[in-house]
């Protein structure tokens, strides 16, 4: 479905050079990433902030800034995913649930915005309106919320609107960038179940999150990222007990830091010494 082959991404930044002159340098944001994601899979990408999770999503969607240097190969359904194809497929075959709530148009009411997303995916206008209605109802957005502007929505509502937009687009590959931030447990479960449901329909879901604990029940495989590097890709069932079936110390430390486990900062090595908070 989607293969990522030795993907490396560099972004420019400016720093003082020798002659105290601003000089362009390159920061490596994604370092030699290789992943194979198949249809019907929920693939969780987990890591700390700044690990390059969102950049991976932007690289797949083709939303990187023009100055970015990208090397490696992206293949979608056995064909290379280049800039032209990304533009064709974006919003149709590929959908992104963005992290930032500012992705919503501030001048358009919720219902129309979701309708637009359905139209972009090629549905006729009446069908799009009905699809939007169904999706909004499914995510428990009432009439008031449907007629609201983006700034009138709470954070959790806005996030559900974004999820509904990806839902109506009928995309084959859905990338959800932190879809559960700011949601209460019921709503979070609803969104995660919806993503699982998409995968069960044969679609592919990439779930980008820092919330390892809630990603695990719905994910098939988990990729742990750190500083742009892929630490480990493991089956979701490997995260259990004290994490000894995980290969890398960092994934283990991440797993042990959860409040239901040890709630410690284990040192990033094989030994599980740590200082407990409680």
């Amino acid at each position: 479905m989607l293969t990522i082959d030795h993907l490396t991404l560099q972004l420019p930044y400016y720093a003082h050079g020798h002659a105290s002159w601003w000089k362009r340098r390159w920061a490596t944001c994604l370092d030699d990433l290789t992943l194979q994601i198949s249809a019907g899979e929920v693939h969780a990408v987990v890591g700390a902030s700044g690990a390059g999770k969102s950049l991976l999503a932007y690289a797949i969607m083709g939303l990187l800034p023009p100055a970015a240097r990208l090397s490696g190969q992206l293949n979608y359904q056995e064909k290379p995913l280049d800039a032209v194809r990304q533009r064709q497929l974006r919003g149709r075959e590929l959908a992104l649930i963005p992290q930032s709530l500012s992705a919503l148009d501030p001048l358009v009411r919720t219902h129309r915005q979701v309708t637009w997303a359905a139209q972009r995916a090629g549905q006729p206008s009446t069908g799009a309106r009905h699809a939007a209605q169904r999706a909004l109802d499914h995510y428990q957005l009432d009439t008031q919320a449907q007629q609201a502007y983006a700034h009138e929505l709470s954070g959790g509502m806005a996030r559900r609107v974004l999820t509904a937009m990806a839902h109506v687009s009928q995309a084959q590959l859905v990338i959800a960038d932190e879809p559960t931030v700011g949601l209460d447990p019921h709503q979070r479960q609803r969104v995660l179940d919806a993503l699982r449901g998409l995968a069960d329909q044969g679609k592919t879901v990439i779930l980008i999150t820092h919330d390892l604990r809630h990603a695990l029940p719905v994910a098939d495989r988990v990729t742990i990222m750190r500083d742009g590097k892929q630490v480990e890709t493991a089956l979701a069932c490997a995260f259990q007990d004290d994490g000894t079936s995980l290969n890398h110390g960092y994934s283990q430390a991440l797993w042990l830091a959860l409040p239901d486990n040890a709630f410690t900062t284990a040192t990033i090595s094989k030994d599980k010494q740590g200082v407990s908070v409680a």
Binding site: G47, A48, S49, D184, P185, H186, Q187, L212, R213, T265
Partner: protein, 204 residues
Amino acid sequence: MLKAHQLSFQFSPGVPLLQAASLTLSAGQWVGISGDSGAGKSTLGKLLAGYLAPQAGSVTLDGAALPKSGVQPVQWLPQSPELAVNPRWRVAKILREAWTPSNAQCQAFGLQEKWLSRLPQSLSGGELQRVCVLRALAPEVRFLVADEISTMLDPITQVELWQALKQEAAQRQLGVLVISHDSALLERLCPQRFHLSGGQLTPW
């Protein structure tokens, strides 16, 4: 002792958010509040910190009303640090808004020297959250209301933040009210926990 007595609050008439909710927080005590979104958790936190005035009932600190000026002894830590700082101030200025933390305290919270000259937008959420927590720990401060401060952090950063806060709170006998959706986290941190629903606090 921070005491909320029979607090009632509503934003729109006829839709009461809090109904005679009472809560006591003594020095060095950790109390957890859970509840669905929209249950009024943050409103309760803001009432306790004096950001909002209760429509009925009272918030008292050692029997007296909260002070009207100066560094507030009850500090509210919001969920998103990006909105809690002036985007045009450098981190050094943000950090020293109310007081100047010592180097040891900066180290305990994992602050790095190089952040100080940066603007908040170039710090990650976790880094900025640590700056905001330390900023709120002025010597006059005796109670903290931590409103979902760790939801946007990865597990390891979360533990580091709570560890640092726990240590500081133990040293200075700070009372901390932790507001979170995460019941596992509350069980870890707070011996005393309440669930807020229908405007009432029920212990669990």
